[in-house]
Symmetry: D3
Subunit: 137 residues, 6 copies
Amino acid sequence: MTEHDDRQARFERGMALLDEVSGGQGQGVMDSLADVSPELARQIVAWGFGEIYARPQLVPRDRQLVTIGILTALGGCEPQLRLHINTALNVGVEPVEIIEALLQSAGYCGFPRAINATNVAKEVFAERGLLPVEGTR
Amino acid sequence: MTEHDDRQARFERGMALLDEVSGGQGQGVMDSLADVSPELARQIVAWGFGEIYARPQLVPRDRQLVTIGILTALGGCEPQLRLHINTALNVGVEPVEIIEALLQSAGYCGFPRAINATNVAKEVFAERGLLPVEGTR
Amino acid sequence: MTEHDDRQARFERGMALLDEVSGGQGQGVMDSLADVSPELARQIVAWGFGEIYARPQLVPRDRQLVTIGILTALGGCEPQLRLHINTALNVGVEPVEIIEALLQSAGYCGFPRAINATNVAKEVFAERGLLPVEGTR
Amino acid sequence: MTEHDDRQARFERGMALLDEVSGGQGQGVMDSLADVSPELARQIVAWGFGEIYARPQLVPRDRQLVTIGILTALGGCEPQLRLHINTALNVGVEPVEIIEALLQSAGYCGFPRAINATNVAKEVFAERGLLPVEGTR
Amino acid sequence: MTEHDDRQARFERGMALLDEVSGGQGQGVMDSLADVSPELARQIVAWGFGEIYARPQLVPRDRQLVTIGILTALGGCEPQLRLHINTALNVGVEPVEIIEALLQSAGYCGFPRAINATNVAKEVFAERGLLPVEGTR
Amino acid sequence: MTEHDDRQARFERGMALLDEVSGGQGQGVMDSLADVSPELARQIVAWGFGEIYARPQLVPRDRQLVTIGILTALGGCEPQLRLHINTALNVGVEPVEIIEALLQSAGYCGFPRAINATNVAKEVFAERGLLPVEGTR
């Protein structure tokens, strides 16, 4: 990042990155908040993706694993989990790895949170023709 | 796992694995709960490590990233986070990657949880002579 | 509050206050719980509003800001958030202030909780013809 | 539990117990996760019920009271709460006791969580013809 | 409860009850908050105990089991958990039952919360000469 | 904010604002994370204060009320709550208003979280010679 990293540049970098990893969901994020909180949408893109996600210190695959852990533990974040499970698949996490991460989460935040997150994964996998998940046994 | 996977075998497999990834913390876990809840300690070892962690579907490195995400989001789990940051280092996660994962967590569970977890990482890194963290800039 | 502040008086004071700030939602709260937990409904009214909310030490506007912060952080409280965003509008909090409070919440409890709460605000504002929100840019 | 407590035996014991206390919901738990995470379903049954719930140190009635407290506090666990309120009724907790436990929860985790859990109880009681709840006044 | 259930009467009833179940901790609760939030202390006593806990619909033993479940799940409530584990012992919950409830909690809110709560129980039991806990095996 | 709002300018604006509202705590935030996660510290300042807090849509007083609500509900954020209670006092929130906000929080996130936050307020008030709090009765 250069020191002359202005607001518009950060936004554009974030949008390009969000589109790349999410398979083009960037505009949808902007549109859904456009008439209520455009700045929230802009910050998700410009800051969340343009400043943080864009940093090279952690590869996208690892960022998604951490994020899936956080969203599973928080609970009540099904829409965001849906986005990040899709993104995880896009950046190379295998379905069986996502499922195993959620199985492991049961020991750290309990079965209910693990089940809820697994049900979100099931919906995402169904949409992408990835059921039944191979290798979970 | 064979069908004749008895209670003692699961415990021993879990203890070997916990010792391996944590650098010999297994007995400490058992001892700390010995006079109050030996079964809780045994289940952490036999189930958490012997049954779940031992599964080959997710590599130890990835398990630690997910777990650090969960523990950061939960909050109030500093002793467990300490164990898992140590373990993450033991299985090959770089200090800069842990720090970056916690930076990313700020966007998903807020700065306070990210700061608290980073302070735990700071203590662990200090004990292991890993400060200042390289490559975080 | 007098010492002869009996159960019925507290309930009536709470109901009058709840109706005033919520635009007449008091009976709805009572009805929704009438056949399952009438005492829970009564306590929300008599204690939550009749005893706590009625205290003069904090103005209604400030109570709503604090409450919106709490409900956003908790997550999974969409019906209650809906009531309190409506109430906040009724006691003089501007839509742009609610939206800005939720933007700020992103830094303290993360984007997912902030987005979920903003979506509730969007629904409330839509019902009251307050979209698009002015001054959020 | 014998030392030759193999994987299949634990699963079968868990399934029998889950079916008994839940009124035959065991197969539904297995089926709902069959194509996405069969191991998660198996562990809920084999570990959660076969190893933990099966222990004689706490009677089923008490286990349900603790579990209802946990699920109410967590929030966002409505499907699991539904199962456990049903189970609580099956093992002898009276509707009025469940409602009173949820009223008490308001003081420890707040009214919103208490209301959400009470609404789940209302749905379960309605399905079982237990409304209006007797003795709650 | 009569309709002439005034503020002072509720407080006195709550204080008597809190003292009875906690072994005389009531004044300590009042004193600790006296110069910062006397009304918070008064409401804990008058409302939490005088109005809610005093209701006959749930026996003290059951109230403690639910409350221990809630406090374990919340996390970060060690002082309150300490009070309620003491109270649970006072109203007849056996140490082994408390420990078993916390073991069960692992499946619903994860091992870290279960361990933290078990460590609080260990401290309480140590102070009361109840270690090692009998019958936990 | 101009479009040419570069990284250094955002940081400086944030630091000036943080110092102003916190009474000069900015450098302490930077120093505490300097050798472990300088970017986390920089983002708290540059983004949290330089971009979000600096926006004119919500006055500092209101930002603090919302933030205190969030931190109370989260739990386990005592250091951050300490900073924000201090800041709230600095921007004109009266001690009695903070205490009343925390009393109100009891109804939304329960007494334990309210007590813990009130104890943090007590420490801050003690350091600033503000005990006993006037007007809380």
